[in-house]
């Protein structure tokens, strides 16, 4: 735990009344290690620790009676400031239906999350419609149809011969037909470096003009999170992030990195495989998790 490591550092440095800048840097080394172990991006860690250093020196931690605690407090506060966003709030359209589109790498949890979002909206009195726009992965449509049945939420689907873009083109009409107030679109997993697939995503977005474009990210994602999210953001302007598989023990540093570099807010987290394993995002909780 970071506070223990910092206490160890200051203990070894001895009680000499006032710590030097060098002593503070020794403590910051531990902060850096903790963040790297938590999968925070290498460059983000550098900038973040510089920010903490400035505050630590400015706050005169050198004269503090409890320097370890003060540094942990500063790190925690700075993490919360960076992570803070719009927890759990989806931007609705001025006129229904509002549209949410999910995208992300293969296996990140989009299809499962689409169902979770549908359940969440239904619970708040909305009428969601799920749209199966992944015609690539075998049985992806069936997966969403099954989940929709379990929740008693309608799923609009076509045969897998129909490209995702055409499914999206018909989705709004379907929504109006069914008086749906929210449309949640599940898309195929794709690589940010796959030109054809990223093009499809851009086309689908043009077709649907979604109110929310959410990137679904696995909490265990490592250093590549920044590049990946940056690529998606530059192509389709993300409005939010959903961090999945938070029921595991991955520290989730990728979320901090993505937020730091792209500014995209984290909106929800997935905490299990069932449809109710879904929560609004709380920055202070992720902050203490990242700190380990």
């Amino acid at each position: 735990v970071l506070s223990d490591k910092l206490n160890q550092v200051f203990h070894l440095l001895g009680n000499k009344g006032r710590l030097t800048e060098k002593d503070i840097d020794e403590a910051l080394r531990q902060v850096r290690l903790a963040l790297l172990e938590a999968d925070v991006n290498f460059k983000v860690v550098k900038d973040f620790v510089t920010r903490v250093r400035d505050r630590a020196l400015g706050a005169n931690v050198r004269q503090s009676l409890a320097p370890a605690q003060q540094i942990v407090k500063i790190v925690n506060e700075e993490l919360v400031v960076v992570l803070g966003g719009e927890p759990g709030r989806l931007t609705a359209a001025s006129q229904p239906p509002s549209v949410v589109m999910l995208t992300g790498l293969q296996g990140s949890g989009k299809t499962t999350t689409a169902a979770k979002l549908a359940r969440h909206l239904k619970q708040t009195g909305q009428r969601p419609l799920l749209v199966a726009a992944d015609n690539r992965r075998p049985a992806a449509i069936e997966q969403l149809v099954t989940l929709g049945k379990q929740l008693d939420v309608p799923v609009y689907r076509e045969s897998p011969d129909m490209p995702g873009r055409d499914v999206c083109a018909r989705a709004r009409v379907k929504a109006k037909e069914m008086a749906a107030t929210w449309v949640i679109v599940d898309t195929a997993g794709r690589l940010h470096i796959d030109e054809a697939m990223m093009d499809e995503l851009v086309q689908m977005k043009k077709e649907l003009k979604p109110d929310e474009m959410l990137l679904v990210v696995d909490a265990m994602t490592g250093q590549d999170a920044v590049r990946m999210a940056g690529e998606f953001h530059s192509r389709v302007s993300l409005t939010g992030l959903i961090l999945t598989k938070m029921d595991g023990d991955a520290r989730g540093g990728a979320a901090l990195s993505i937020r730091w570099v792209s500014g995209v807010p984290i909106k929800f987290i997935g905490t299990g495989e069932k449809a109710d394993a879904f929560e609004p995002f709380y920055p202070d909780r992720l902050a203490s998790r990242i700190l380990g």
């Binding site: 999968d39 296996g107 265990m220 490592g222 250093q223």
Partner: protein, 278 residues
């Protein structure tokens, strides 16, 4: 990077950034840098390019893990259990592996033992159909152990050469799910006391430091004989396998480089290290 003639402090900083950014992890990175630093002194290395070569050799050293003795004169089927956390690429990788065995002239049977996730059986059946590979499945919600037992009996009676078992994705910290896996392993052992002959952990190449934790837990629960590193066709480098090989000595056997049937390669340490350092 590395083309400067002198070996100065900047070289080590750049090395650290390269490795950490590839998900090697700070601890394994420091270990590798210490090793190369010693070499620089002992061998009086003064060229950046030579430092790079020394680093690559040190990394290959970690990755080349002896594959444990595979008893060759066992009666068929060879039973391969495939496990891993949710969404890592198990189902897709299994069909790739089956396809490759089929191309070697082996008879293969796949077992749909993920009876939990929506459309998991459907997905494996469709992939199997495309690849011309037979799937043994029960209905959704069935006991995974029962499906495995049935499949192994069928494989024995038909003298099938390889059986690959697809299991549900699971978070390694959920002890009830890990116990379910231990039970599946025991059931395989009931059908054939030497089974499973291989237990493959499918790891997503985008995974960060948690990949090492996953490998530890799965090894602890059922023992892992090899790793299939999937999704290496993305931009993530998969460096966490260095930490896994270093600590647990589990060989990386295959890599997944795409979503198609043929997108699988045998792991080559030199090629992997060259791509990582690129």
């Amino acid at each position: 990077l590395f083309d400067r003639p002198a070996v100065d402090a900047e070289v080590w900083d750049e090395l650290e950034e390269l490795l950490v950014s590839a998900d090697v992890g700070i601890s394994t990175t420091e270990k590798l840098i210490e090793k190369v630093k010693k070499q620089v002194v002992v061998e009086k290395i003064d060229q950046g390019s030579h430092v790079r070569a020394a680093l690559r050799a040190a990394m290959v050293d970690i990755l080349i893990v002896p594959i444990r003795e595979i008893m060759e004169d066992l009666s068929p089927p060879k039973v391969i259990l495939v496990v891993g956390v949710n969404g890592g690429g198990k189902t897709t990788s299994i069909v790739k592996l089956a396809h490759s065995l089929k191309n070697e002239g082996k008879s293969v049977l796949l077992v749909a033992a993920d009876t939990f996730r929506a459309a998991a059986i459907d997905q494996l059946k469709r992939l199997g159909e495309r690849a011309g590979i037979e799937i043994i499945a029960h209905q959704s919600g069935a006991d995974p152990g029962a499906v495995v037992y049935d499949a192994l009996q069928a494989a024995k009676s038909r003298q099938v050469e390889a059986v690959i078992i697809d299991t549900a994705g699971r978070i390694h910290t959920r002890s009830n799910l890990m116990e379910e896996l231990e039970k599946v392993k025991r059931v395989a052992g009931k059908a054939d006391v030497t089974a499973p002959h291989e237990v493959i952990l499918v790891l997503d190449a985008t995974t960060g430091q948690n990949g090492l934790v996953q490998a530890r837990y799965f090894t602890e629960a059922i023992g892992i004989t090899g790793i299939f590193l999937a999704k290496l066709d993305g931009t993530a480098k998969g460096g966490i396998v260095l930490a896994i090989c270093d600590e647990l000595k589990i060989p990386i056997q295959f890599i997944g480089v795409g979503e198609k049937l043929e997108d699988m390669e045998s792991f080559n340490a030199e090629a992997f290290v060259a791509a990582l350092c690129d």
